[in-house]
């Protein structure tokens, strides 16, 4: 199969290929939390992984760092990581605690979390923690490490960085803490930054600051970013590409402008019509939410996972898992509506036998 996402071999940093992640428990059948995930991360670009709680977006991100819980494993698939343009390493094949994996983790790939308190040590100053990170990776003395730390703290917009380096995490506000964690993540100039809902716990003005900061840092460091969020507004602000997840499937993926302008999967469309638009009274439309609740992964419907809640479901949906269907350059969706001649007609979805709307096919 030719890759659906066009890529320049030199710029591609990480490629997920057909990754399945399975959770097992002693008394119940295995659960496929994530299935057939493919995506590519490119230097200098941001891929946003968006979905509601329990869709598998965090699990996918943790799989890249091999930080999965003990009862979870990558069942099959490859995670190809090529940091220096050489032969790619398959992260999925490495031991999660192997030397190779440890040198990738923190050195090449860093991660920031929703709650910085959980990843910062409460008993050390943030300066000491970042110093240690730098010394671990660069083999420099404490003094020059501290210089770099101060530089980093300044870069992430912490006022008075030299004094703040001596603060403990609990002495900082939520926004500053998140900045400190970003500084720590950047300490060894990673190629890839994974951000797991980094702004969810913050106030809107702080969130805007952090998003601005991440964008600026990405431009400076040229790193790829995998941004996990449930907020379509944040996606629109920060992403170059977006992958929409539902119950462990990536149901639609593509350039952020294409996906927001002409979403092709009914779930993406439903998500978009679930958020209130910033419009005047006159253009106000009643929200059109998805019926019902997300089923638990152990009761995932056969075929397309979204069948039970999809307003357009028809014959094959409940039995056949739809494949990836292109809907434009680098834009695809997993939906039978896009491929079946006898599918019900839905306005705005590119269907066989329906003339494309002008400008929709790139």
């Amino acid at each position: 199969m030719t890759p659906l996402t066009p890529m320049d071999a030199n710029e591609t940093l990480l490629r997920m290929e057909n990754v399945n992640i399975v959770f097992s428990s002693p008394d119940e059948a295995d659960i496929e939390a994530v299935r057939q995930v493919d995506f590519t991360l490119t230097r200098g670009k941001t891929l946003a992984l968006v979905g509601e709680s329990g869709c598998g977006k965090s699990v996918t991100a943790r799989a890249i760092l091999r930080l999965l819980d003990k009862n979870a494993r990558i069942d099959h698939g490859r995670i190809l990581f090529s940091a220096d343009g050489g032969e790619p390493t398959d992260i999925a094949a490495l031991g999660s605690d192997s030397k190779a994996m440890r040198s990738i983790r923190g050195n090449r790939i860093s991660m920031i979390f929703q709650e910085p308190m959980s990843s910062l040590s409460p008993v050390h100053t943030i300066g000491d923690q970042i110093d240690e990170m730098i010394m671990l990776h660069d083999d420099v003395e404490q003094k020059s490490a501290r210089e770099r730390t101060v530089e980093l703290l300044d870069q992430v917009g912490i006022p008075g960085p030299r004094q703040r380096a001596d603060s403990y995490p609990f002495q900082l506000s939520g926004g500053l803490r998140q900045r400190a964690m970003i500084a720590m993540a950047l300490a060894c100039k990673p190629d890839l930054l994974i951000a797991d809902e980094p702004t969810t716990a913050l106030d809107v003005t702080t969130q805007a600051q952090i998003l601005d900061l991440l964008r600026a840092l990405q431009a400076e460091y040229g790193m790829a970013m995998l941004f996990i969020t449930h907020d379509l507004g944040v996606v629109a602000e920060i992403a170059d590409e977006v992958a929409v997840m539902y119950l462990g499937d990536v149901v639609e993926q593509g350039n952020v402008f294409d996906v927001f302008r002409a979403p092709q999967h009914p779930y993406t469309r439903a998500l978009m019509s679930s958020i209130p638009r910033m419009t005047r009274r006159a253009q106000r439309e009643r929200l059109n939410p998805i019926q019902g609740n997300v089923p638990s992964p152990r009761n995932r419907p056969e075929g397309c996972a979204f069948t039970t809640r999809c307003p357009h479901a028809f014959a094959p949906c409940s039995s056949v898992h739809p494949g990836r269907t292109p809907a434009g350059e680098g834009h695809w969706a997993r939906c039978h509506l896009l491929t079946h001649e006898d599918a019900p007609r839905v306005e705005g979805i590119l269907q066989p036998g329906v003339p494309a709307i002008e400008g929709d096919r790139a």
Partner: protein, 345 residues
């Protein structure tokens, strides 16, 4: 429209004491709040964490005791009840009229009670119904919020977040209230579930003839739901205006900052923001002198650092703002370019 609830000069000060003989520190969570709620409207109270919006909601229902000020409720024209002056026992009948929906549907339902009893509890407390009548009212309220009859005997833990919030709403509505205070009622829910609940709240408002005080940090939701908006910052009201006027042309720099910071789900509007606001929300304990926002305001002048601006009507209209320069500042709203036929002047 008639006034349903009036808050006058409301202040709330928390005192903290560190240790047994420690210093007493007082935090003024609300200072001199004045607002009116008109019958039938949805009034949104917005602001970031620590702005006092939740405290204000709780002071209105007397879950917290206000330090100063009056809350007056007008159940019918010509009859004013000063809620803040009533004793706990005297307050009870009014608790039927003013109800609250909580943010966290997990913790606001007693885990040891079945759905039926949860919803019947307010009726039992107020002796509003019994026997078959009680059952009928509970079942019909639950049906209206979309909880099926066969769920009556279940416990809250058997429901998803969205369904629990529906049960919470049924508890608020079963007493046929007039005013419902929804404190971040949809914030904890997933996007698609949030939309279900927003639609439900909208329908119920029409069905029951309700008035809402909708406390939220999410301006997108507020724009969708509210008729009027109150913007709070560090315990002060900085601006209050009809929704469309506020989003079209904010009058207080903080409102503009909030609107700018709001992520909008449209990548083509990404560039509307020049730069996020500087700095952080100050700690309540050392609130700046003068205008509380001056430390972060890009328009701040010397006057702002010394003189606290009062909340005053702007251009004689409905909009009130607490900014010395509210008339002259040219602030950006959140809407896109105005449609051809401009509706707003």
């Amino acid at each position: 429209m008639t006034t349903l609830l009036k808050v006058e000069d409301l202040s709330k000060t928390f005192t903290l004491r560190s240790g047994l003989f420690g210093e007493i520190m007082s935090l003024e969570a609300l200072s001199d709040i004045n607002l009116t709620v008109k019958a039938g409207e949805t009034l949104a109270i917005v602001g970031e964490s620590g702005c006092g919006k939740t405290t204000l909601g709780r002071c209105i229902v007397r879950a917290l005791e206000p330090t100063e000020g009056r809350v007056t409720y007008t159940p019918e024209p010509g009859r004013d009840v000063e809620l803040s002056a009533l004793k706990k026992r005297e307050l009870k009948p009014w608790r039927r009229d003013i109800r609250m929906i909580f943010q966290d549907p997990m913790s606001s339902l007693n885990p040891y009670m079945r759905v039926f009893d949860l919803v019947a509890e307010p009726l039992r407390i107020h002796k509003a119904a019994r026997g078959a009548e009680l059952e009928r009212r509970v079942v019909s309220t639950l049906e209206k919020v979309g909880i099926p009859r066969d769920a009556l005997q279940r416990f809250p833990h058997a429901f998803s977040g969205g369904q629990r919030q529906r049960i919470g709403i049924a508890r608020a509505l079963v007493l046929d209230p007039k005013l419902v205070i929804a404190d971040e009622a949809v914030s904890a829910l997933d996007v698609s579930i949030q939309a279900q609940i927003l639609n439900l709240l909208e329908d119920l408002k029409a069905d029951f003839g309700l008035t809402y005080i909708f406390i939220s940090h999410d301006l997108g939701v507020v724009n969708y739901l509210a008729d009027r908006v109150v913007v709070m910052y560090l315990g002060h009201i900085v601006e209050t205006a009809p929704t469309e006027a506020l989003f079209e042309r904010p009058r207080h720099p903080y409102t503009e900052v909030l609107l700018e910071a709001l992520p909008i789900a449209d990548p083509t509007r990404r560039s509307r923001r020049h730069e996020a606001v500087k700095g952080e929300i100050p700690f309540l304990g050392n609130r700046p002198k003068g205008c509380p926002f001056h430390t972060r305001c890009k328009f701040a002048e010397d006057r702002c650092r010394t003189e606290k601006p009062a909340l005053r009507p702007i251009n004689g209209g409905e909009t009130h703002a607490a900014c010395h320069f509210a008339e002259t500042l040219d602030l950006k709203g959140a809407y896109g370019p105005a449609p051809a036929t401009g509706t707003y002047a």
